[in-house]
């Protein structure tokens, strides 16, 4: 373990500040809580929000899993896992079932989570309305008034132009029938897993200095219309490695003649099926 730093890097005062923000976030599901985000020794955009949330909830007995794009072996996941192994000395794992805390970027694990697990999301842009209204002073008012008409209009315009909603990731969700929320850039395929999850889901946006949460067993619905219901899509293939037909697939280019390998993005899920 690295000497000279507190357990899990952050000092206890900072952790306490983050935990207070987390409690507020859990109390108002989907509501963005401002917090005094610190500069971390990893750059903004690399998961500083998720790292701060993980640091604040991590205990010595926890078992940590870190994934990026669903995989444990991508460079940024390796780097963050090492960071906590160094600064907290906690046990790490690549197995979803063994982990008590899972920090993720862009995916929700395929395996169903349990009540004794926490999923920590890294969030680049916590404001779901940002692409429609750049001013955070304005979007704050829109949330206060539950004024989400602009987002429905955006979906409607997509349908009239393309025949479909064109949002494929970071697909906006309604939490507990009240707050519009960015699920972070997970593929829309993962959205149904947010709903009634037994696990606590925490979202950290370091650069934007916001924390929000979906408590266990909370209603989370993807925005849609009665005549255009939300559809989760994946590549219409079976995994080329494990044969799964229910998992989200990466498309790996194998040659320059159009060759493709479709395989599970969730490396632990894929490995478990092949074991």
């Amino acid at each position: 373990m690295t000497q000279g730093y507190n357990f899990a890097y952050l000092d206890e005062q900072t952790k306490r500040m983050i935990r207070r923000a987390l409690l507020k976030a859990v109390a108002i599901p989907g509501h963005q809580v401002p917090f005094g985000s610190r500069e971390m020794p990893l750059p903004y955009g690399w998961g500083t929000g998720g790292i701060q949330v993980t640091a604040a909830v991590l205990g010595a007995d926890d078992v940590l899993k870190v994934i990026d794009q669903g995989a444990d072996d991508t460079t940024n996941a390796v780097s963050i896992r090492r960071f906590f192994a160094r600064t907290a000395g906690v046990r790490t794992t690549t197995r979803t079932a063994e982990a008590t805390i899972i920090q993720t970027r862009h995916r929700i694990p395929e395996r169903k989570l349990r009540e004794d697990q926490i999923l920590v999301y890294q969030v680049p842009l916590p404001e779901p309305l940002a692409k429609l209204e750049p001013s955070r002073a304005e979007t704050k008012k829109m949330h206060a008034l539950a004024d989400y008409g602009a987002m429905h209009v955006k979906l409607y315009e997509d349908i009239t132009r393309y025949g479909h909603v064109s949002i494929s990731y970071d697909y906006p969700v309604m939490v507990n029938f009240r707050h519009l929320m960015s699920p972070s850039p997970i593929p829309a395929f993962d959205n149904p897993k947010l709903h009634m999850s037994p696990a606590l889901q925490l979202f950290g946006a370091g650069r934007e200095k916001r924390i929000y949460a979906v408590p266990p067993w909370t209603t989370v619905t993807s925005l849609d219309f009665e005549d255009h219901p939300f559809r989760a899509t994946r590549a219409p293939h079976a995994c080329g490695l494990c044969g799964a037909t229910d998992s989200y697939l990466d498309e790996v280019v194998t040659d320059d003649r159009g060759g493709r390998l479709f395989c599970c993005s969730d490396t632990d899920y894929c490995a478990g099926r092949r074991a």
């Binding site: 401002p34 955009g45 669903g70 072996d73 064109s166 990731y169 989200y248 390998l261 993005s265």
Partner: protein, 354 residues
């Protein structure tokens, strides 16, 4: 198979770091640069890193510059990350720059004034000719010395203030905002705005200030005064009840005198823009003063037409640590999101009837 390319991240990271260390050292036949050399001979780089890194420590800033191979934004980031781990003991009293012993002090609004014009170690009147003799090195002849005035040198805006021609200093009300503890919220008060600008990217501030001069939010600025020198830092511990000095900083302060505001009932007065930078940061302090003044458009009842007058736009994007992180994070893997885009695009294309 190509799939193995994404494996072995751990080994790849170690190897990349080893290569980085080797590249940082450069040609081993050339002497290694010392942190003391950076601190004393690359002072303007150190000043900028201290300002944007938001820590006044020349040696740490010099170390950060060495570690970052001279990439000043990366160096400021190293310093910021270090800063985040430091405890905060107290808020200081406001710096009294009127008591500064200036190394440089100029005014563009009065030809002469109490305390005089003092150029100091400036590049302003150098001819920008590459000095090939400098490549050889050597010790320059000693600069002539003058005896400084013993008395404090009054600030230009205090001189104007005697006649009520310029708005007074705002009254300090309690502990100032600290955006490292409380994130920015909009509308942001001037103390939070000044803090954000003081840490902001010099290039961004410079371009915004320049834009105000070219008509995107004109404020008719004059340099009332620029002063640079050492100033005492004081705290007032509650158990003592009086101020004690805990150290000195070298700062550059710029007071802009801007177009006046007033009405039939309030006599017109010049308004002010304020800039302060760690070290010798004249360009930064001037740009900051221009932007500070233009951000006061709302408060002074001016039309906000230029980007430099938009508080939320300026403050949300002036931090280069945040900016570089978010821009550069685009190089991290995004293949899950890209895959979902591919699927949606293929579906839409498949259903389109030409």
């Amino acid at each position: 198979m190509a799939y193995v390319a994404v494996k072995g991240g751990e080994r790849a990271i170690d190897a990349a770091h080893a290569w980085l260390a080797e590249a940082r050292r450069g040609d081993p036949a050339v002497d290694e640069i010392g942190v003391d050399q950076i601190a004393s001979q690359l002072g303007r780089a150190v000043d900028r890193v201290m300002a944007e890194g938001s820590v006044y420590d020349r040696d740490l800033a010099a170390l950060a510059i060495k570690q970052a191979q001279g990439d000043l934004i990366e160096a400021a980031f190293l310093l910021r990350a270090y800063r985040a781990t430091l405890p905060r003991f107290a808020a200081t009293l406001p710096l009294d720059t009127g008591r500064m012993r200036p190394l440089r002090r100029i005014s563009a609004v009065f030809k002469d004034l109490p305390g005089g014009q003092m150029l100091g170690p400036t590049t302003d009147y150098t001819h920008r000719l590459l000095d090939f003799a400098l490549a050889e090195g050597g010790t320059p002849p000693p600069a002539p010395l003058a005896t400084p005035d013993a008395a404090d040198i009054p600030r230009v805006h205090d001189i104007l203030g005697h006649e009520g021609l310029i708005e007074p200093d705002p009254v300090a009300g309690g502990e100032p905002a600290d955006l490292t503890r409380q994130p920015l919220a909009f509308p942001a008060a001037r103390d939070a705005r000044l803090q954000a600008l003081a840490r902001g990217d010099e290039g961004f501030l410079l371009s915004l200030g320049y834009a105000t001069q070219r008509g995107y939010g004109h404020t008719h600025p004059f340099v009332g005064e620029i002063r640079m020198g050492e100033v005492a830092v004081e705290i007032e511990p509650p158990e003592l009840g009086f101020a004690i000095e805990i150290g000195d900083l070298v700062v550059t302060e710029c007071q802009m005198v801007n177009q006046f505001a007033g009405s039939k009932t309030t006599p017109a007065q010049f308004t002010r823009g304020y800039g302060l930078a760690f070290g010798q940061g004249e360009r930064r302090a001037m740009a900051m003063a221009l932007v500070d003044r233009s951000l006061r458009a709302g408060e002074l009842g001016e039309d906000a037409t230029g980007p430099a007058q938009d508080v939320e736009f300026v403050l949300s994007h002036c931090d280069n640590i945040e900016a570089t992180g978010f821009v550069e994070h685009l190089k991290l893997p995004h293949y899950v999101d890209f895959q979902s885009e591919l699927e949606v695009l293929r579906r839409i294309r498949g259903e389109a009837t030409p």
